[in-house]
């Protein structure tokens, strides 16, 4: 890493520039949203140049996927962007299902949409909390995490875990909603609209919030598209690109919702868009609950695709139900053989390649999945929106004040687990 400093060191280039100062921000800095590092060249308080440096959270998820079965891939990709685990699982499973020519049953698709939208709200609440904290609105930090806790309780109830759920699987979802979950979601739907109004009344006309966000970090539509920026940052520039509308998956074309766009292309527009997206997601969740009144299977019937076990939530997450363990260990030898084969060898996926995009809270999350016809993925590439969006930081920061860099990064909401994978 010393090379980066050398490259910007005025003495190293032989052209002394007395006025500027190079400072290093991160990777251990509370305002950089995780382990993001910025190398800033400052002229007084003005940023002359900015270079984001990433990779501190690289965990080799893509390489790991190549060494496990297709089903195990779910548990790896869910850990990439740890604030949108359901979306990672969904994109991966949709890609694998398209390779296999399998479609999840209708009820599983509704559950996938339901959890995607709850996840979107949970992620936006973390964005609200952290960007509030970074800009000095500490009460917003407490509020955001408070409401997110309600969602994490629902996630924990349904999947056994607060993050890294591995709930969406190839061919459907692990299991149906447990008793009492619907009531919890209904009460969340009652609580959140009032809370969103509260955030808005605290921030939207707050002079400090407006001053820190309005007109800051402007990224025009042309620049955003050239830099590959998607999600709220692109929609803030007036481009209504949303994978849920443009290339619908899991039945999104049958849900009623609006894509929020802005026109000022600044941090404030991104703030307003995210609040509106939370409201739209609440509407989608309500539509999901209406559809869930009809019972049905949540996993395909094909024994060559579906996970063999009956799973249930235990104290430490999802595991085999005791009744199923009894069945394979004491009753049916065939069931044991089948279980052993599916768990150790896994499914076989026909050769080919697909690119499956979904709309994550941060933009287009794409899975490029290649199969060579065997039991393991040949290549999984996660096109993570945080990775791509971070490239736009220099464009938005250079020429502005160093304090604006904090607002800009907060408005992009990067998750380094996704950017570094």
């Amino acid at each position: 890493m010393a090379r980066d400093l050398d490259a910007m060191d005025p003495n190293a280039t032989g052209e002394p520039r007395q006025e500027t100062m190079v400072i290093n921000m991160g990777p251990q800095h509370p305002s950089t949203h995780g382990v993001l590092r910025l190398l800033l060249e400052l002229d007084g308080e003005t940023v002359v140049s900015c270079r984001p440096i990433i990779g501190y959270l690289h965990t080799g998820i893509e390489k790991n996927c190549e060494y496990r079965t297709w089903q195990q891939g779910v548990t790896f990709v869910t850990r990439a962007d740890y604030l949108s685990p359901f979306l990672n699982e969904l994109a991966y499973c949709l890609a694998v299902e398209r390779l296999m020519g399998v479609e999840a049953p209708p009820r599983a698709q509704v559950l996938r949409v339901l959890f995607s939208e709850m996840n979107r709200i949970a992620s936006h609440l973390v964005w609200l909390a952290t960007s509030g904290m970074e800009l000095g609105a500490v009460s917003i930090m407490l509020f955001g995490f408070r409401e997110r806790e309600l969602l994490l309780d629902i996630f924990e109830m349904a999947t056994g875990l607060r993050m890294n759920h591995a709930y969406i699987r190839i061919g459907g979802v692990v299991m149906d909603l447990p008793p009492g979950a619907t009531e919890k979601i209904v009460s969340f739907l009652d609580i959140l609209p009032g809370r969103i109004r509260e955030y808005e009344s605290l921030l939207a006309t707050n002079p400090i919030w407006v001053e820190r966000n309005s007109g800051v970090g402007v990224l025009s539509a042309e620049d955003a598209i050239a830099l590959g920026v998607t999600g709220p940052a692109l929609r803030a520039a007036g481009i209504s690109k949303d994978v849920r509308k443009d290339e619908p998956y899991s039945g999104y074309e049958t849900y009623e919702f609006e894509v929020a766009t802005g026109d000022s292309a600044d941090c404030f527009a991104r703030f307003e868009i995210r609040l509106e997206e939370m409201r739209q997601s609440l509407g989608i969740i309500q539509q999901c609950l209406d559809r869930l009144e009809e019972p049905g299977p949540v996993m395909v019937e094909d024994p060559k695709v579906r996970w063999p076990a009956q799973l249930e939530v235990g104290p430490d997450g999802i595991g085999n139900s005791p009744a199923y363990v009894k069945h394979i260990m004491e009753v049916s030898m065939e069931a044991l053989i089948h279980h052993f084969k599916m768990v150790t060898e896994g499914v076989k996926v026909p050769g080919g390649e697909v690119y499956q995009p979904v709309e994550s809270p941060r933009g287009e999350l794409g899975m490029y999945v290649v199969s060579d016809g065997e039991h393991r993925p040949y290549r999984v590439r996660i096109r993570d929106p945080s990775f791509v969006n971070l490239q736009a930081v220099p464009r938005m920061v250079e020429g502005s004040l160093v304090a604006d860099a904090i607002a800009v990064i907060a408005s992009l909401d990067p998750v380094m687990g996704g950017a570094d994978r």
Binding site: I54, R98, G352
Partner: protein, 161 residues
């Protein structure tokens, strides 16, 4: 598919599989083809969604780059595939056309060792600067990286006991 027909006029090697259009392009034509796909108002591929490589040892060419193109106006997608030989793992950089390719190309270089000619700053991006090798090549094993604690070492995952 209408899109496939239109693309095939320019790129004869175009197939449709699983509702996705894929075209194979020669390495030396890549920049020109991308430029024309972008300028054609009926195709208007203005967003480069993703760029990565796949390694097929034993095949010729060994590395295949794939460019996922998207048109914001028409909402359609196209994948371009470019073969890169093992002996000369190079490809032209497309950063001049698509600035977003900057980090994607750095990542592809980092993971596969494919060099992009004309890239403004081709350095490793996710791995440390002093890392040796390109870990997503199929010839590299998973794990087996020595730790810095008194000569301790951990074998690759498939050779652990």
């Amino acid at each position: 598919m209408e899109l496939a027909t239109r693309v095939r006029e320019r790129l004869p090697e175009t197939i449709v599989a699983r509702d996705e259009v894929t075209s194979v392009v020669a390495r030396e034509d890549l920049v020109e083809v991308l430029g024309s796909l972008r300028e054609d108002p009926e195709l208007a591929f203005d967003l480069l969604s993703s760029l990565t490589a796949t390694d097929w040892p034993g095949r010729s060419p060994r590395f295949w780059l794939s460019y996922e193109l998207y048109s914001v106006a028409h909402r359609h997608r196209l994948r371009l595939k470019v073969g890169v030989d093992e002996d000369d793992p190079r490809a032209p950089s497309v950063t001049a056309l698509y600035p977003t390719a900057d980090w994607h190309e750095r990542e592809t270089y980092d993971f596969y060792g494919v060099r992009f000619d004309g890239h403004p700053d081709l350095r490793r991006i996710l791995l440390p600067d002093d890392w040796e090798g390109h870990p997503l090549r199929k010839t590299e094993e998973l794990g087996g990286v020595d730790t810095r604690f008194k000569g301790a070492s951990v074998p690759p995952v498939d050779r652990r006991t």
